[in-house]
Symmetry: C2
Subunit: 516 residues, 2 copies
């Protein structure tokens, strides 16, 4: 962007126009950012008092903001005013310490700072050459996190012995991690089964427990797998809703007997619904019989595995093909940041590599560098490693572990409170910082009536604006999910939420109308 607004006929006619539009004028950048920082400071100081879930109706924002883009420029303060007055009141405040829904999107000062700097540098590191520092920082951050997770060396880009065959990439979502590994596994299975082009795709089968995130089944369809060949393996209370390897083996063998080609298994460590943990090692053993790719989705609970007491959930990971987890969930790194590691990066890049003329360069040709575009769906990419590295550099393993343990301790407290009140039950064992509980059916209460009472409880709680909980259905039971860990959360918020739950439950049981 220059400062020209006419078409001079030659360079001689160029003249510095100090009045021209300078979108990155350093003083403006500083001024806008200082205003933004003030806003953020106020927001964090006051978000606790705002209703977690807003009471707005669909279409509310179009009532408040103009429906057409303005022609004229306006002071930045106008946008900030509209942000305060129109946007904030319509937000679901994930940053609120009273947010207990879904999984928390944890965050930290270091992460936000890292993302800000990345936004300002605004590089596009598709190849190593397009930004060596960004590529190497991402590789380093992934190697660091691999060490915190005690992943085997085979998943690391660089070990004390030099450059390895493994490595990773930071993606936007777990879904993308699933998609790119599914495509790699698909192509390998097509080659293995002697398919003519993609003709053999109708014979490829994929597997996951019925508790696996719905996005897995979507990713399979995106990659072209036949919906009829996507196996959702039933789970039950007997395994706490984890995948049963014996059942998996049986289904895979039946598929092979029917002439199908088992291609990919997704194992989840910490399911979204109830935090079930699929047995990674046993699944890898089953998969090995069929040469199927095993991916471990540890989006949420992977973060906990930086603590020794949780690391056993990843036992057997040395025998899987890929693993992903999302620091944007539980490792204090703002969205988006999903880390994917693969044991053999060539198995990914064989399917994902492109080599257009305009991106050719000596470094790529030399084969000594990583071009991260070849491990993701797209080409363009932000400076993704910076914020994750800043989080680890600033807080160190000790603070990160303290953060996980603190959340788990608060969840444990909550769980004990639920267990101590005989109106409630904890529906599945708590593994991490998610407690799945419900109002227990009293004598003579049907499952429908129990669900109605719990649904009523959730709705009454959420309407107060003082807490936001989501639900799930596990084993046919409607269950409330209480997810601890929003980054501004302290014990007092958990305690207040529990008091609110007790109060609303008493109201419901006594037939009282909610008075907020």
């Amino acid at each position: 962007m220059g400062s020209l607004d006419s078409n001079p006929a030659s360079f001689d006619a160029f003249a510095a126009d100090a009045e021209g539009f300078q979108p990155l004028n350093a003083d403006d950048v500083r001024s806008y950012l200082h205003k933004s920082v003030d806003f953020i400071y106020d927001y964090y100081k006051s978000v606790e008092t705002m209703p977690v879930l807003p009471g707005v109706e669909p279409g509310y924002l179009s009532q408040l903001l103009q429906s057409a883009p303005p022609n004229a420029a306006a002071p930045f303060d106008i946008a900030m005013k509209e942000l305060r007055e129109a946007v904030v009141p319509g937000m679901t405040h994930w940053a609120s310490p009273n947010f207990f829904a879904f999984f928390p999107a944890t965050n930290s000062a270091a992460a936000i700072a890292g993302e800000l700097i990345a936004s300002a540098m605004n590089t596009v590191g598709f190849t190593w050459q397009a930004n060596p520092a960004a590529t190497e920082m991402e590789v380093l951050a992934l190697d660091w996190l691999a060490q915190l997770l005690r992943l085997p060396n085979s998943f690391m880009n660089r070990t004390s012995a030099g450059r390895g065959t493994g490595g990773g990439v930071i993606l936007g979502t777990t879904s993308e991690a699933m998609l790119v590994t599914l495509v790699a596994a698909r192509d390998a299975a097509l080659r293995r089964s002697g398919s003519n082009g993609v003709a053999g795709i109708t014979r490829l089968t994929v597997y996951a427990a019925d508790q696996t995130h719905s996005t897995f089944f979507k990713a399979c369809r995106l990659a072209g797998f036949d919906p009829a060949n996507i196996r959702s393996v039933p789970t039950g209370a007997e395994t706490d809703y984890a995948l049963d390897p014996a059942k998996l083996l049986e289904i895979m063998q039946a598929d092979v007997d029917a002439g199908l080609v088992p291609t990919y298994i997704c194992a989840t460590v910490g399911t979204t619904s109830s935090n079930a943990v699929d047995p990674v090692g046993a699944i890898a053993d089953v998969a090995a019989r069929f040469k199927a790719w095993v991916h471990v989705d540890a989006a949420y609970a992977g973060s906990a595995c930086i603590c020794s007491e949780f690391r056993h959930h990843l036992n057997g990971v040395e025998r899987v093909d890929s693993i992903s987890m999302s620091p944007h969930k539980w490792l204090m790194t703002c969205l988006d940041c999903t880390c994917l590691w693969v044991r053999d990066t060539h198995r990914l890049t064989d399917s994902l590599e492109t080599n257009p003329e305009y991106l050719k360069n000596d470094a790529s040709d030399s084969g000594t560098v990583t071009d991260l575009k070849d491990m993701q769906v797209g080409v363009g990419r932000r400076f993704r490693g910076l914020k994750l590295w800043m989080v680890m550099r600033t807080y160190g393993a000790s603070r990160l572990q303290e953060h996980i343990r603190s959340d788990v301790a608060m969840a444990k407290m909550f769980e004990e409170s639920v267990r101590a009140d005989d109106r409630f039950e904890v529906v599945v064992p708590r593994n991490f910082a998610l407690v799945c509980f419900r109002i227990k059916p009293r004598a003579g209460m049907t499952e429908e009536a129990t669900e109605a009472a719990n649904r009523e409880l959730m709705e009454r709680l959420n309407r107060t604006g003082k807490a936001y909980l989501a639900h799930t259905v596990v084993g046919g039971k409607f269950v409330l999910r209480f997810a601890v860990g929003s980054s501004l959360q302290e014990e007092r918020h958990v305690r207040s939420a529990w008091e609110l739950i007790r109060k609303k439950t008493t109201e419901i049981m006594s037939g009282e109308v909610s008075v907020q």
Copy 2:
């Protein structure tokens, strides 16, 4: 994150621990961000003096930073020091006004501020309920931009007549926009052709000019299309490397005659290589004969179409199925921000919708809201609309148009200078702010010698650190790409680059050794 570091046995044992780790402590956030803003201010003030392309070797960063993550926490200043001393010297500076490679990643104060606020709020608006304001802001920003581009009402979410059938979503990359529309088109074609599951996929064909970005061909493979059915239509100088509709028709008809099912055509407005413009309307007419989906990829040049003098490049867009463009390229919005509009959102959501129990809510059930997760690969998503809205709200159409016109004027100046020096030639007509030029073959010079001279010129230029240009091959010719528009760029930078090009060319022609 609370402040617990032990496991008290009950709530009674909870005690506020002011010393506990608070990752989002408002004072820390403010302090870290102020330091980051100071860094950014200095960076923008000094980036002009830094080598655009760093002279580092692969693996350089691992020599400078520790290879294992620290256990102890460290002051944020340590991370900032390492950023300054280890990271910055290894960066390719896309923000440098001397950056002329690829396409510029334009940026602005308003965009960075918007992204910062989004990072701090850190919401995950997968459904409307999960953040009504974020969903509605994204819809509004897309409707605003659709108006700036004069897209037909059919692509808008909300018109003066109420909610329409069209709409959009903000994605991370053009590749994702291609992928999700390819999948929607694929599924529609499978249904249309009576396929049993995905068995019919081997009959589906897709089309694009040979100048189309390589990521299109990759997206086709990700979606499971048979590599043998991906048609790369040859182009030549006679159409300035744009897709020839007559040739397209011929190829599509031949495919139909062979029993294949034409499914999808990608038309590009402003190719990456040379900014060729495929004729949108004529392609839509051809596609209509075969019921094939037409997607317009206007990643770079779409931004120019907010100016009346460039809008004609989108003529016929009312007859296509989808269009995407990336404000992170040329509309002063930091990465990542790719806007996708579709004429019938149901055609996308039919393929991409998921409905797991834990995301069910009354608003979604009512059918009156948009759940943006159903228009993208993943589930999680940032508050993507905020920065784009802030850019339009703050700069208005007038400043945005001024920005485009200024870049184009600078490119025109550069082009005229090239044309005025008879050692050079402009290889394809300039359409926007990209000039494709080369040292002209002198009498008796072979094509190989010409390429060698131009390659030498590029390498000498890039080694100076005072300019960074990339290349391409068009019609068998090795060509230098001079892309104007980095957001700190002024005429003087373009002029200096041109002087440098002349000087290096003189050196090469006189056989001098580069002294840089």
